[in-house]
């Protein structure tokens, strides 16, 4: 198929089918656009780079971009999930055949709510130090432990869980990766109030919960490797975009909005403001140029450490945009609430920037990763790296 034929086909399909869909405001939980997304999936546009048997069309990256640009032009969501859908990509790359058949289509249509059961009270940056255990039983595993900061757990059907299945080997080697059903006895989700005054994240207490055999991803004890794929996708998503407003509306931030705010505030002719606004917009632009270049080099099912740059860049962008917006508003930024939407946005952005600079691995950890994996600098010495985890636990 030539590029022109492809373009004509996508455009015609969109013209025949796209009638608009509700806005998605939550990153987690079932997607309100599920009906539309199912249509996109069934037509093969959800993940066009994927093979036909997996709802794709086996397109090259260049042709998949044509599909994406047609969708973007029509302002229709749903394509490009072969790059952006963390859950579906992880499942496709590592899930068992049986489980993949069930979950991948649901994930592409956003029919199931998902969450990430990684962090624990004692294992944040040092994620390999998790103590949640999964013990083999007839037909699956029994899980006990505690997770924390779990975004979306309260509305999730499955959690991507890392748990320890072998305590006799060093910490990175005894971990396995599962899709754990969330709606069962033994999974207790308790909301945590955030500094933004929202409750998107939770504590999850797991007490003898069950995971069926086929929900294991990758090899038993190979969870750390699966996690690297999943983290790379997560960080790449976080490097691409972030909630700029409490409403989650994309229009509330971004270049045009910042420029407009400066104009509204009557400060667009102030040379210092011009410099500040230009810098934020430039950082955003440079970041998307970087990620575009990095993604073109990324093959399906592999992880690219270059993508870690995007998240670090986005963290700087968000914190700085929060500062500039606050400066633009002046005294108005002292306020909050629905009657003061501009102030609400500036304050929300300034706080929620930590979602990106702490969540998904802190900026400090990102810098370590970039230094060690991308720049090949010597590793930070790690005292418990080669010690059996049971000995680490006993030693504490």
């Amino acid at each position: 198929m030539t590029d022109e034929e492809l373009k004509a086909e996508v455009t015609a399909w969109l013209a025949a089918n796209w009638r608009g869909a509700p806005q998605r405001t939550e990153r987690f939980g079932p997607d309100p656009r599920a009906e539309w997304l199912a249509k996109v999936r069934d037509a093969g546009w959800a993940a066009p780079r994927w093979p036909k048997e997996w709802y794709g069309r086996g397109l090259s990256d260049a042709q998949a971009r044509i599909v994406e640009s047609c969708f973007a032009e029509a302002k229709a969501p749903g394509t490009g999930q072969d790059r952006s859908n963390l859950w579906a990509n992880t499942a496709l790359a590592h899930a068992t055949e049986t489980f993949k058949r069930q979950i991948v289509p649901q994930l592409l249509a956003g029919e199931v709510g998902m969450c990430l059961l990684y962090s624990e009270p004692g294992a944040g940056s040092d994620l390999a130090a998790i103590r949640t255990r999964a013990d083999k039983v007839e037909g699956g595993w029994r899980v006990t432990g505690q997770k924390v900061w779990t975004s979306g757990a309260h509305i999730a059907d499955y959690g991507m869980l890392i748990a320890r299945t072998d305590w006799s080997v060093p910490k990175h080697r005894g971990i396995s990766f599962f899709f754990m059903p969330m709606r069962q006895k033994g999974v207790d989700v308790r909301p945590l109030r955030q500094i933004t005054d929202e409750t998107h994240f939770n504590e999850v207490f797991i007490d003898d919960a069950f995971i069926p055999e086929e929900n294991l991803l990758g090899n038993l004890g190979g969870g750390w490797g699966v996690l690297q794929t999943a983290l790379a996708y997560e960080r790449s998503v976080m490097g691409d975009a972030a909630r700029g407003a409490r409403s989650g509306a994309k229009e509330a931030h971004g270049d045009a909005a910042l420029l407009e705010l400066a104009r509204e505030a009557g400060k667009l002719s102030d040379p210092l403001v011009r410099q500040d606004v230009a810098q934020v917009i430039a950082w955003r632009m440079l970041n998307s140029l970087n990620t575009r270049r990095a993604k073109a080099e990324l093959k399906q099912g592999t992880s690219s450490s270059i993508m870690s740059l995007g998240k670090l860049a986005m963290s700087r962008i968000l914190h700085e945009e929060g500062r500039v917006r606050t400066e633009l508003l002046g005294p108005e930024s002292l306020l909050q609430g629905p009657d003061h939407p501009r102030a609400e946005d500036a304050n929300f952005l300034s706080l929620n920037a930590y979602f990106t600079s702490i969540g998904g691995g802190t900026d400090q950890i990102q810098r370590n990763i970039i230094g060690e994996r991308v720049l090949d600098l010597p590793r930070e010495p790690e005292v418990d790296r080669d010690v059996a985890f049971s000995a680490v636990v006993a030693g504490r």
Binding site: S125, D126, R193, I195, H319, P331, S333, D339, L351
Partner: protein, 361 residues
């Protein structure tokens, strides 16, 4: 120097209390103890959630310690102290996130005399000060005073929601507005420890002094805020460093990682610089030094910026735990952000700083 241009602590040199270092330390310690007892984090959160954002019982106790009347002369029932003591006490208020109306009270002490000054010192009269005209840092207040009446709106007035009396402070004079001549709209503020109100004024006013005292009142307000910021910055750094010592990841304290250690060292530089700037401004103000404007402007932006940076990086250095409402770090971040706007932002004060330098050279 004419009488009106002098600060109250200079009105009558023999009446001004000069505290020894030990006395100052004792004053600071008694305020610190009272706040530790009555303005602990749970109290701060209780007051944050209250309608008025004010703890009147604590305010009266502070008044009993002589804090409300610090800058009120002894003949008016005050302690007759000066900027140095005010700054020191404000560091404690800032560290404890106190919502006591101390900045407003210190400013009012510069403008009131007689019975009103007495009631202020006793903690019985809460007075809000609304700077107008050239002093209006909000750029949004609009109050017209003519023929013994005032009408209009004064915006973002600290403690306006609990004020018994409002002082309109403009270049052409200071006017007292009694409780029945204004109504206050409490604002939905981002920092719930520092309440602000829009004051709708319509009624008779009483001229209480000429405009020459206003600069002194504003200077005191700015100084009090700088002290609050320096104290807040130091407290955030303190509990952040404590956490970095305790929290372990990768088998070691996170403070052993240079990323954290270096941030902490940078924040110490910020917090100490803020403290130096605030204390220097207090001394310059007390001594009525020629470059006091420069010293005040310096304190205004150095303290505001240092506090924002300490509170911001403090959250980052804690990781996920500081993203929770239950953790105090965000309360400091909110307070740092509100202080950075109050009385003008850092860009304004950097500009005033260089103007002061130009005027000197």
């Amino acid at each position: 120097m004419t009488r009106a241009q002098r600060r109250p602590w200079e009105r009558d040199a023999c009446m001004t209390q000069v505290m020894t270092h030990e006395e100052r330390t004792a004053l600071r310690d008694s305020v610190r103890r009272l706040l530790a007892d009555r303005c602990a984090e749970t109290d701060v959160r209780r007051v944050m959630a209250s309608d008025t954002g004010h703890d009147d019982a604590l305010w009266r106790e502070l008044a009993g310690l002589g804090v409300a009347g610090m800058l009120v002369s002894e003949d008016n029932g005050g302690s007759g102290l000066g900027p140095v003591e005010l700054e020191l006490v404000m560091e404690e208020f800032g560290a404890a996130l106190s919502s006591a109306p101390m900045i407003s009270t210190a400013m009012a002490a510069m403008l009131l005399d007689g019975a009103r000054a007495q009631a202020l010192a006793a903690g019985e009269l809460i007075v809000a000060v609304a700077p107008l005209g050239v002093h209006d840092w909000t750029g949004q207040s609009d109050v017209r005073v003519a023929g013994g009446r005032a009408e209009g709106v004064a915006r973002f007035v600290p403690d306006g929601q609990i004020a018994d009396l409002v002082l309109l402070a403009g270049d052409d004079g200071v006017y007292a507005v009694a409780r029945d001549a204004f109504s206050a709209t409490s604002l939905p503020v981002f920092d719930r420890t520092r309440r602000l109100a829009d004051l709708h004024i319509d009624g008779p006013v009483e001229r209480i002094c000429d405009g020459s005292r206003v600069a002194g009142a504003l200077a005191v307000g700015l100084l009090a805020l700088a002290g609050d910021q320096a104290g807040g910055a130091r407290r955030v750094l303190e509990f952040t460093v404590d956490y970095a010592r305790e929290r372990r990841q990768f088998g070691r304290a996170i403070g052993s990682f240079q990323a954290i250690k270096h941030m902490a060292a940078d924040l110490l530089l910020e917090a100490e610089s803020a403290t130096s700037a605030a204390r220097n401004a207090a001394e310059q103000l007390a001594g009525d030094a020629a470059d006091r404007d420069g010293a005040l402007a310096l304190a205004a932006f150095a303290c505001a910026d240092a506090y924002v940076r300490c509170a911001k990086d403090g959250v980052q250095m804690h990781g996920g735990i500081a993203f929770t409402w239950e953790h105090p770090a965000h309360l400091y971040l909110r307070r740092a952000r509100s202080g950075a706007q109050l009385f003008g932002d850092s860009r304004h004060w950097r500009e005033r700083f260089i103007q002061a330098l130009e005027a000197q050279s």
